[in-house]
């Protein structure tokens, strides 16, 4: 057989090709590696030098390219919670696979420690290590479902930490997780609650670009249905909508029975235990998305003058009678602006003369008295007028309303006898909502 062994595969002996993820480095915002985990052989952390180089070149932290080639490896990274998760791979691997896995790592940390910060990770370094080992074997994802992991490695809680410290017991599960191999790997068996409840949040984010004159260039809605299901036993749920036709572009949690959806437009599923994202959907610009807010603006610079005018007025539009809340305006003003002298009719505004970031916390919009921000900007004396026009970023919330008009019709439960408490909430938020000036 030796003659079939390709020379190259021989060379692999000395340096194993990780089919999948070889190593993981966690890097904080000041560029220090504070954790490393290797699933195969140890890769020297000097490999991250290439990452640091890219980081230095990038003008903003989020501009570091997600895939960086080095002579012997590829670095695939994501930036979450101001931590770079840098995966090292050595051969052809689908990059999305790696990125999705890294997201799962971030989610798991957040799930376990409440927050995903350097401090939290350092405080729980052993659990982190155990988790990473459990999530990946030889570079293959092993267990990434939160509730399987929680059976294998119990999340740290104050109580348990105290008990463990006193009694010396462990936070590692001794038994094979029940969900690991069942047909419903996302749900463990033997779930018990005294209060059975199922809550669904329909949350829509609207992304839009509005041009100078106020007309919509593009608008789309990214919607999700997040669920918190605490039900005893093996409940089988169905969720139906008043207007399922809206949902022509959807991504489901694996628990959803796709065939049933295709045929009847009904979501039928055995839910995971606890919090999960049941569905995400996308309503595209062709379907005429209603724009809930408008901005009147007048930002002008004159040639040869060291003053610029700034006027901004906001108003509601097509909100279906619901109020706009938590409105926050931000805008990156041109570099030439030294300072601003503005007057908000409500809320507070700040301007950072270093980063040139203007932000105005408006709060609620009262349709009878539209909020405005007016005043002047001082420019560098003698400099020519700025070339770029600032873009205005708007954030807002609308409670009790899904902008697309999506409505849940009913939720039914089969397979269990008790009567659960059910709740549905709707909310609309601004995603990347930008107004050009």
């Amino acid at each position: 057989m030796s003659d079939t062994t390709v020379l190259v595969s021989q060379s692999r002996l000395s340096s194993p090709p990780a089919k999948m993820i070889h190593s993981l480095f966690l890097v904080n915002s000041s560029g220090d590696i504070f954790l490393e985990k290797h699933w195969k052989s140890v890769v020297s952390r000097s490999v991250c030098d290439y990452f640091f180089e890219a980081q230095e070149r990038a003008s903003e932290p989020e501009n570091v390219p997600p895939v960086i080639p080095t002579p012997h490896h590829y670095l695939i990274s994501v930036l979450r919670h101001r931590i770079y998760f840098v995966a090292v791979i050595q051969s052809e691997v689908p990059p999305l696979f790696v990125i999705e896995f890294l997201h799962r790592v971030v989610d798991t940390f957040q799930d376990y420690f409440g927050v995903c910060t350097e401090a939290a990770i350092k405080d729980n370094v052993v659990v982190v290590y155990e988790l990473l080992e459990e999530m990946l074997d030889n570079g293959f994802p092993l267990a990434t479902e939160s509730n399987i992991l929680k059976e294998l490695i119990k999340p740290p809680t104050i109580l348990r930490t105290v008990v463990n410290t006193i009694t010396g017991s462990t936070n590692v599960g001794e038994q094979l997780p029940t969900g690991q191999l069942s047909v419903v790997p996302w749900r463990r068996t033997g779930v018990k609650y005294t209060n059975n409840e199922a809550y669904f949040d329909v949350v829509e984010e609207i992304d839009a670009i509005i041009d100078k004159s106020g007309s919509t260039i593009t608008a789309e809605i990214q919607g999700v249905i997040d669920a918190c299901v605490k039900l005893t036993g093996m409940p089988d749920l169905t969720l139906s909508f008043m207007n399922p036709r809206l949902l022509d572009d959807v991504s489901f949690h694996p628990c959803v029975r796709f065939k049933r959806w295709e045929a009847e437009r009904i979501l039928s599923f055995i839910p995971p235990d606890g919090n999960f994202r049941l569905l995400s959907y996308h309503v595209s610009c062709q379907n005429l998305v209603a724009i809930p807010v408008y901005v009147k603006h007048n930002i002008t610079f004159r040639e040869g003058s060291s003053q610029g005018r700034f006027e901004l007025t906001l108003g509601p539009k097509q909100t279906m009678g619901k109020g706009l809340e938590a409105v926050l305006i931000s805008s990156q003003l041109p570099r030439g602006v030294l300072n601003t002298n503005l007057n908000p009719s409500q809320g507070t505004y700040t301007f950072d003369p270093v980063t040139k970031l203007l932000s105005w916390d408006v709060g609620k919009i009262n349709p009878q008295k539209l909020p405005s921000l007016k005043g002047s900007m001082s420019l560098q004396a003698g400099a020519s007028k700025p070339d770029e026009n600032p873009t205005i970023n708007i954030q807002f919330k609308i409670q009790q309303s899904a902008l697309s008009g999506l409505k849940v019709n009913r939720l039914d439960m089969y397979g269990e006898k008790y009567k659960p408490f059910k709740g549905i909430k709707y909310m609309t938020k601004a995603g990347k909502f930008q107004v050009r000036t």
Binding site: S14, N63, L96, Y129, D248, K259, E388
Partner: protein, 988 residues
């Protein structure tokens, strides 16, 4: 701080309680969290840990192991504690056991003898009644890359592969892949591969998915094996498992399905139907893998089929959805969408708006979106696109603004009807006077002129106004090109060009070349006023410059002008080939291959998969299946035998981007290293006495019929040197020999060929006795990057020999003839012929003993003869084998010391510089030199044609004829051959 936020998510009222807990927790402070494991005293840390690890108290032990793990996470070396940690392994505390296993995996390799201590516990754990422990043991054991341990692994692994618990089976499946990585032979001998194949039919979908993943990984290192034997039955099993396994398993299965070629369109459709639901998966990697399968199988469906249209419609929404994900995912998705819109623009033709850029997108997302916008631009949406692009041109980010301006130019070239609009948009932008915007605009306007000649010249006046603000070479060159090209319409063209000439030597090469050409154009158009100018530029280019390209081009013009002005006109002012949008499209064969690799790194970099990761030879080239209803498989990976005449497919290359196609014909590089042919015969040299600087120009000024240049044979030859640009070659310049170029090099002076590589003397490979009168002797050489087999065939028989052909057996480096053996005339008795056969390195690969052994079969009309010969490995050393210094250092450290081998070269009397020069001729590159105590250390790198790097350290001591050489390579078996080459090169 571990805080129980989750419990209170729904009830805001309990938030208070939450903070209460948090403060309480803080009081416990460092005592309660793992951060305490970091706070050991610096002094005697290891010693302290050692004591704690050997403590009798279980709890203390566990805490100590945790401290060790904590040190490991920050990259501290705690391998010294190996025996102490391993001693903690025998425990019934699962957490402690896991922690010890974690440690073992990290350090076993550095302590192989100690690692043996762990074997017994592993074997015992593989029999544990708890499946979790059985799986854990087999999984960890596979991660310990120590040969001695793998021997003990076989039996437990065999049991675990047949374990009653699927969790153990699925873990064991992955373990086979791990073991194969350590010892492929062992895995084959033990029959694990067959067991693994059986697991594809396992009842549990997770086991199936893992078996597929393991087999795929193994198959990757065995490109020719038939491990994943896909047939309709196994495909059916995979499709069934697809619906039931986890998201990761789905990715493995989909990627595996993508390698299958359905028998006909019906099977193709039925697979597509079963894969489509995956498009609605929340995991974007699953979605993209599904897209890959569909894009590939779709190729087989007839276009008039209803289902084909349905499928096209189904593909758009998931792709759009990917764009609302996190920026990193978006980036990968966009790179792939870029391929998809080139292959099937109809899928996303209505989705232009989702690619509009948001101002706070990361720059890498912005640039990709921009590129796709141009690809989707059409007459229907061009107004929208231009409005957007104009908007982007006022953004803050300079890079992005430049790309946006370029994009406007590309739109003009792509959508003809929009050209006018684009030009006026560009003029608007030029009015902004923003320096970099103006410069980019001028660069693209030049392209628009190329595409639509004589249409938009009215804007030249505006462009000229901005002449002074241009400070970037590309913009200057573009402007100069425009002035030269339209010299007859610009009244003060001579003044404009003259103004550039003042600082000629401070300009970059690009501008110098362009200026030279532009002035020659101007001269040909307006000879009377510009004679002085052209004299000036020609002498600047030929006498005062040490840039060979510039000098050569100067001489070419000079001679053309002096010998045959009419020809000069025809050459310099020839019609230029039109440019088109096609120039930035990916070449179709590469595109097909990339479509088959959607979702991979190859698709992100738009390079063929074979270009990835060092040493990845033997990658199958995938093609989209042809649309046939027949049962024949159309996929043919390059594994066939190297048939005599058929040259193996060369790796597709990317067509140069439009920037390279700019300007005129003379932008060709004529660097000597790229001339591949043998040195031109010197017979073409007939023009020795020509007064180059003298009267030639006068002849142009005077009556054109004056036959001054007519009798000089050199000038037509000049044209032949430019045979690369046949489109612009007037027929009259078809010269018989390529002598001109050789002359030019002589004139330029000092531009000799690089020092030659070492070529061993010819030896007799096949004696006439053994081959019915045919004697073959030969050698190998590498000339200008091409490997040549140089043969002398002698006919020592009485009859004529004809019909020669040659074929190689598989060999270590995939050598194969790149063309047929060129013996065109019959070989008469006692005749000898010299043939040189170019070789490629893309043939089938098989390891030979010795490594550089080559088995050859030669056929003629009489019989087939076999012989074997050995080639010097140096002919596989490629020209780009010079490593960056830092990479060298990193690689040197990275390669384990076991792979280092040392040799002595005796009786060599060169000094280190001479040696280094000599070696360089054979593509052995010296990267650095260091002198330590009178001893010169040379650090060198070599790259083999299959991507293997060899690093060398050569020690030369003055006065000592014996050199010492250390070689480091990931494939240590080449070291011996490389050493032989060193010896041969240095001693010859």
């Amino acid at each position: 701080m571990p805080v129980v936020t989750e419990l209170f998510k729904w009830e805001g009222t309990k938030a208070k309680l939450n903070t209460h807990f948090a403060t309480e927790n803080r009081q416990f402070g460092s005592k309660m969290t793992d951060s305490k494991y970091f706070t050991t005293t610096k002094k005697g840390e290891i010693f302290e840990l050692k004591a704690e690890l050997n403590s009798d108290k279980k709890e203390k032990k566990k805490e100590a192991v945790k401290k060790v793990i904590a040190s490991m996470t920050v990259g501290k070396d705690v391998s010294a504690l190996f025996p102490d940690v391993v001693n903690c392994m025998q425990t019934d505390n699962l957490e402690l056991k896991k922690l010890v296993y974690l440690y073992l995996m990290n350090y076993a390799k550095s302590q192989p003898d100690m690692a043996i201590m762990a074997v017994n516990t592993f074997v015992k754990d593989c029999e544990d009644p708890n499946p979790l422990i059985r799986a854990l043991a087999v999984r960890t054991m596979g991660c310990i890359r120590v040969d001695k341990i793998t021997e003990y692994l076989c039996e437990p692994l065999r049991k675990c592969l047949k374990d009653e618990d699927p969790y153990v089976r699925k873990t064991a499946a992955v373990c086979v892949a791990k073991l194969h990585d350590i010892n492929a032979q062992l895995v084959e001998d033990q029959g694990f591969l067959d067991t693994l194949k059986d697991l594809i039919s396992d009842s549990n979908p997770m086991v199936v998915a893992n078996a597929v993943a393991a087999l795929s990984e193994i198959a990757e290192s065995h490109p020719n094996s038939n491990l994943l034997d896909l047939n309709p039955q196994s495909i059916n099993k995979l499709l069934t498992a697809l619906n039931e396994c986890t998201e990761w398993g789905q990715i493995f299965i989909l990627d595996c399905l993508a390698n299958y070629t359905p028998r006909d369109d019906r099977e193709s459709q039925s697979i597509c139907e079963r894969v489509t639901p995956r498009l609605s998966h929340a995991n974007s990697a699953v979605v993209l893998s599904a897209v890959k399968v569909l894009m590939k199988f779709m190729e087989m469906l007839p276009k008039d089929l209803d289902y084909y249209g349905t499928l096209l419609k189904k593909l758009a929404p998931p792709l759009v959805t990917l764009l609302s994900a996190e920026p990193e995912l978006q980036y990968v998705a966009l790179r792939n969408i870029n391929l998809i819109v080139q292959k099937r623009p109809e899928i996303l033709k209505h989705e232009m708006k989702v690619f509009f850029v948001k101002y706070n997108d990361p720059i890498y997302v912005k640039l990709e979106k921009l590129d796709i916008m141009i690809r989707l631009a059409s007459q229907a949406n061009i107004a929208q696109v231009l409005a957007e692009l104009k908007e982007y041109a006022t953004e803050v980010d300079v890079d992005f603004v430049r790309k946006a301006v370029r994009a406007i130019g590309r739109c003009a070239i792509k959508v003809e009807q929009s050209a006018e609009r684009c030009v006026s948009t560009l003029l608007d932008l030029i009015q902004t006077k923003v320096n970099y915007v103006v410069q980019e605009a001028i660069v693209v306007i030049k392209d628009i002129f190329r595409k639509y000649p004589n249409k938009y010249e009215s804007v030249i006046a505006t462009l000229c106004e901005n002449l002074d603000s241009l400070d970037e070479p590309e913009a200057r060159a573009a402007m100069i090109w425009i002035v030269g090209e339209y010299a007859e319409r610009i009244d003060n063209a001579d003044e404009l060009l003259e103004s550039f000439l003042e600082g000629f030597h401070d300009e970059s090469t690009q501008v110098q070349l362009q200026l030279l050409t532009a002035i020659v154009k101007l001269f040909l158009k307006k000879p009377t006023e510009t004679q002085e100018l052209v004299q000036q530029v020609l002498s600047l280019a030929t006498q005062d410059s040490d840039n060979p390209d510039l000098r050569d081009r100067g001489y070419i013009y000079w001679r053309l002008l002096s010998t045959d002005p009419v020809a000069a006109k025809e050459v310099v002012l020839a019609e230029k080939p039109l440019i088109s949008e096609e120039t930035d499209l990916i070449e179709p064969t590469l595109l097909e291959e990339l479509i088959c690799h959607i979702g991979t790194l190859a698709s992100v970099y738009h390079k063929p998969p074979s270009a990835f990761v060092e040493g990845s030879r033997g990658v199958m080239h995938r093609r989209l299946p042809a649309r046939t209803g027949s049962g024949e498989s159309t996929e043919s990976p390059d594994v066939g035998t190297a048939a005599g005449g058929s040259a193996p497919e060369a790796a597709p290359s990317i067509i140069p981007s439009q920037g390279d196609l700019l300007g005129d014909l003379l932008n060709l590089d004529i660097a000597p290293s790229t001339t591949t042919g043998p040195p031109p015969p010197t017979t073409g040299m007939q023009m020795g006495g020509m007064d180059l600087l003298g009267g030639g120009l006068d002849s142009l000024m005077g009556d054109e019929s004056e036959p001054l240049g007519g009798d000089i044979g050199g000038s037509p030859a000049m044209g032949a040197g430019f045979g690369v640009a046949p489109a612009v070659m007037p027929a009259s310049l078809n010269a018989p020999v390529g002598g001109g170029l050789g002359d030019l090099f002589d004139l330029g002076g000092g531009v000799g060929m690089p020092m030659g590589a070492y070529i061993p003397p010819k030896t007799v490979w096949l004696p006439a006795m053994k081959a019915k009168g045919l004697e073959i002797s030969g050698t190998f050489a590498r000339r200008a990057g091409v490997i040549q087999m140089e043969l002398i065939l002698t006919n020592k028989a009485m009859s004529v020999m004809t019909d020669f052909a040659i074929q190689f057996n598989r060999n270590s480096f995939g050598l194969a003839p790149a063309g047929p053996l060129q013996v065109l005339t019959p070989l008469g008795p006692n005749q000898t012929i010299e043939v040189s056969l170019p070789l490629s390195t893309v043939g089938p690969v098989m390891k030979m003993e010795p490594l550089n052994n080559l088995q050859v079969a030669v056929k003629n009309n009489i019989d087939v003869f076999y012989f074997s010969c050995q080639y010097p490995i140096s002919m596989l050393f490629v020209e780009d084998g010079k490593m960056e210094r830092q990479v060298f250092l990193a690689t040197w450290k990275d390669i384990p010391n076991d792979n280092e081998s040392q040799f002595q070269i005796k009786d060599c009397h060169l000094n280190s510089d001479a040696a280094s020069n000599k070696l360089q001729g054979s593509n052995i590159f010296t990267i650095a030199k260091r002198t330590v105590e009178g001893q010169d250390m040379l650090y060198m790198s070599i790259k083999l044609s299959n991507g293997i790097w060899v690093l060398a350290e050569l020690r030369v001591q003055a006065g000592n004829p014996n050199y010492t050489i250390s070689l480091k390579c990931r494939a240590p078996e080449v070291s011996q051959c490389v050493f032989q080459c060193y010896e041969a090169v240095l001693k010859n």
